[in-house]
Subunit: 378 residues, 4 copies
């Protein structure tokens, strides 16, 4: 027989909808507890709410604080086997001390000192890197050295061997996104250590990865190479292309043609060139540009998101919270909380006056299981 | 700004792989805590284990105990709006008092007194009923009265209006399975109350539901009716067909032809006739028959299962636990725990000597997100 | 250089839309002919019509004539290797002597004498049998003996070994449907001879095939057996189930519920239990029942159909043709020709007064390639 | 009753496998003919061959001849409503005078004089343009002006309005590929005339179409625009990208990494960015580069292809035919005929010495219907 450290604590059940607490009922509840049973009627309000009521709250983390602490960690905490990565994760205030940005998503700042390597490993957790500033690190994926530069998005589907290598004399920071909380909740995780050191051949620093040579050509796929593993075979989505796609959408809008999500709001989704699906089976990644002076319609969605401000400045509203934001700031949008953003050119030194937002979410989970809902609060 | 009741508790970090705890490091960790950050290197062992390490444990609930307590609840707890259902859920010992059989699955015994109705509602949680014994209740789904008899499986995809109606002079018990924990973790839930009372026209007690008239014909689909909503349009999978399918597989095996999973082990999956997929987007349901004297190969799978013994007797092994089981017993198999079953004819009064097991699991979630793995421990 | 027996015959081009035929133009056309070229402008009306204009015409074949000739063939033409089958195919009058019922579909009466075998072979052409009357033949598919009785539908996806065996003292006739014309036009055909004789073990005459034991259970699929080959693994769709499904639809209609295609018109589609798709990749098969006194709305569809009257009597209209029909009659509906049917109880000795029609068509081809269109001429 | 101009001509049936021709048999055959029936046993060898035996033959058309005749047509044949396009189609020698390059594919040279317009229309036939030389024409698709330059591939899925506009003072030629024969055989065609003249606003000559602004960004898709119609929303695949993708594959090969189809043989497939499928539902389009001195392995495939030499020179072998080829030459590969190509640098003035081949085929039809087979004759 298994032991249980956490005996069932029945909630007070004298609420209007609950039966009167008689000695007989108390006896029944003791019987439930003894047999490891819990009645629905005392829990239904919490378990089956009228609409999603997230255990997470809206929250913002300021880039300057993150970066400062990451720099200190760079001095104090070595990178190596066991700890694996100098990554510091956002912990949503109400997710009881867990390093979970939302109930399903992990977001962390990772920091690598000049010349440092983060050792090779692989795991079923789906991951990506996004670079808000800096350069000089190459992520080596299955022997393919992928450069990381400002604006680049690097998906890393589960179970690929990977290491990081800082080839320069400057430290570099970026953010990691993963589905760690989702896989933790669902208990799907596998993890393996790889080689202690990457080879000299992998310490090369090409401008383009081999994955880009194969897959980063618009509308073209290689005939000689199949890709059936989960997630995108394209390991870097370079800023140059993302920026141009967003610029093109706003240009189409100015010329009177469809293209944007709504007036002044351009957006692209990073997609798997094999089948057009999301880059990762459990994580959607998008880039949103709110043009100078534009504002988005408040939208609620099932599932949660993490945003990072890439450029510009503005104001974002998540549920009851409103924050002024600037480059690097990270904030979360819990399930079914309305979200909107407004660019504020005056606050920014960006030429365009646009507010550029990187976003990732757990939407593919909801869509695959047909649990997705969206509502505009216009 | 949001408050947070649960300040981050950093774990002890003096383990071999951790940096030495110096005053500077303590200062850094205080900085993390203040900024709602948690380092990966102190958590990685818990969050990213080498293989799934479930927070749930194997456990068994005995039907006689469940039924006894449900009968008592029948006397003491009314069924009505607010509490909605007289359902009593299995609470896995290590899931901290939550009424969760596994991290993703809910299993409960529901009990309805003679003449009682459970009021109409709908919710996004995907549900089903399975009847281990008894009869007399009709589940009214969107106005379609579906009878419930021993061995019947009734899927109930999310967002369908439904009520229960006991049309007889006997109480009836059955089990409910739902994805409540999964949707709770992912925060996808919507819920609506329906009518207080079903109409007299819905109090009819047909032997077959309208859904069966349309969809329970092997390999045949109606041309005039489309079904695009999630989950199966067939609202009852009658025992007669399930039993015959299992019997046929064992007969094929005896005649030397493929059909069974392995020697003496027949199994069918309840499927959506529209596209052959699982009956519910998040829940798989199967029926397994272990022939007299047969034993199954231990198998590990990502994701968790709940089993109910439908008939016969035998021994089941889940991880380190082994139990003798008989009709109605419910037990859980946590993620990646090896499971095997053996029929023991001598223990049973069943004619065939077979051990009949109903099973449901969260496998569709893992397959849709490409997180499924299976390993035979043969 | 290849020779060509069929020199290009340019059509007269003095029509209104054509350029004037000058000596220079004649010279140009001679140049085209010499280089094996044909201008679009002389052909466009034929090749790219405003709507499908079938090369086939509506036509009906009377069962009594087919059966009489098949019986004569039974006396005169042996069945054996080389000719393979005593099958006599419908040749649409305007398809220039080709044994093609429509541009894509083949329909034939096949006839087997008492004790006769049709030798084993396999081909990529997708096929089925449908039995309008009689019994006594088993089709042996990959060693699985499948009985054939009135009303049964037996799909036979491409590349399965198959033979026929008449186990009785009576001859038997049935119809074969295949995609021979489609594969002939597209040049996808492979064909192999199998064993000269089937084994004694295959001469058994079970009431149910093994495929039915595995797959003919409504909404249930075997867990232990995968099926990834094209087409349905279920080798017989028995009349008992088809009849019941149609009866149920009309009963639902009488009770005021959805189910039929339109008033008095019930219909089921034979489907692949693996994924709910059509039974064969290139052929759709359906059964339609027009209740006593009912009439269907004229419908046009891209693609062609062949119908066989299974029971009852009535009137059918295809384009400009209207025929009185009775048991066994076969008729074709070319692409985009409107089709409707009316049951006429007085003409029939059927108890129900319904007109029962078996139909097969090339619709899966059109749907897979997104060329399907439907128009009601109501 | 319908008449039939083409009475059935039974073939001689005195072959080894056929029954002896007795008076009774002749009488039976007359009965068949009268009832519009044809026996399988006289036709099976033609209809169900052991492997595909194409009615088409390998053939080559020389670009210089095509261009010369197109130029003459430019002088003699006006472009306008009715004839619609100055397109001159390849007529396979053995396809009886039909302008069909293969049984399923249409290939034509189209020619537009300076300042000329080809009027707007739409049709269900799926089409594309490929430009082997020249520039100056814009194809206006649904109001979007798409430039055409050497090396560009422009898909045109069915039922889109389109017109052509030569905005320059030079004539321009290109090739059109369509599934006209396939849709002719299957009778799926619809056709509508559009406006007589395109508007001045559509006479603009942008360097990039609006479709490219939305869809030609590698791995990125617009969030605000859905595309559910058949075929690719990207209306131009520019040579710059195709060339770079091929160059990259050969560079990967030189560095020892996977990427090419086989040594010295790079290839890309034009794909639909929405879902990674073929650009057109019935037509596959690819670009193959055979490096200096390389040779491809002979391959047989079900279905047929048309190739155009884009650059370089070499030798191609199709079945029993071998041709030296140079820029612009078009040749066909019938179903199941082995095909291989060899680059011959000495014959070419191309710098790289590579043989560049554009290819289109009917492969999506075969794959959708699971009739695809491939065999390497290595």
């Amino acid at each position: 027989m298994t032991t249980h450290d956490s005996p069932i604590q029945l909630k007070a059940v004298s609420a209007a909808d609950q039966p009167d607490v008689t000695p007989a009922l108390q006896e029944l509840y003791r019987g439930f507890e003894q047999e490891l049973l819990v009645p629905l009627w005392t829990e239904i309000g919490d378990l089956m709410p009228a609409q999603p009521r997230s255990r997470a709250v809206p929250h913002i983390w300021r880039w300057e604080n993150l970066l400062r602490l990451a720099e200190q960690a760079g001095d104090l905490v070595p990178v190596g086997r066991g700890g694996e990565r100098r990554a510091i994760a956002l912990a949503n205030p109400t997710l009881v001390g867990r390093p979970f940005a939302t109930p399903t998503l992990w977001a962390a700042i990772q920091y690598l000192m000049p010349g440092e390597d983060a050792p090779e490993h692989r795991h079923t957790q789906h991951a990506f890197r996004f670079v808000v500033e800096g350069s000089g690190v190459w992520t080596v994926v299955g022997g393919d050295a992928v450069p990381m530069n400002r604006g680049d998005f690097l998906p890393q589907a589960g179970w690929n061997w990977h290491a990081h290598h800082n080839a320069t004399s400057e430290p570099m920071a970026w953010i990691d996104g993963l589905d760690i909380p989702f896989q933790y909740a669902n208990e799907a995780q596998f993890f393996e250590f790889g080689r202690e050191e990457i080879s000299d051949a992998e310490r090369i620093t090409p401008e383009r990865s081999r994955s880009e040579q194969l897959w980063a050509h618009p509308g073209l796929r290689p005939v000689g190479v199949a890709h059936t593993a989960p997630g995108s075979p394209l390991l870097a989505y370079k800023w140059e292309y993302t920026d141009r796609a967003l610029t093109d959408q706003l240009e189409l809008e100015r010329a009177g043609h469809p293209g944007t999500v709504e007036p002044g709001h351009a957006a692209v989704r990073f997609s798997n060139p094999v089948d057009g699906s999301d880059v990762l089976p459990t994580v959607r990644a998008e880039f949103h540009r709110i043009a100078r002076g534009a504002e988005t319609t408040p939208v609620r969605e099932t599932g949660s998101s993490v945003y990072q401000v890439f450029d510009g400045a503005g104001t974002v509203t998540v549920g009851d919270e409103t924050w002024s934001v600037t480059r690097g700031d990270l904030f979360v949008v819990p399930s079914w909380q309305p979200f909107s953003a407004r660019s504020e050119a005056g606050m920014s030194d960006s030429d365009s006056g646009a507010l550029d937002l990187f976003r990732f979410s757990d939407s593919p989970v909801f869509e695959a299981l047909r649990l997705d809902r969206t509502q505009k609060d216009a």
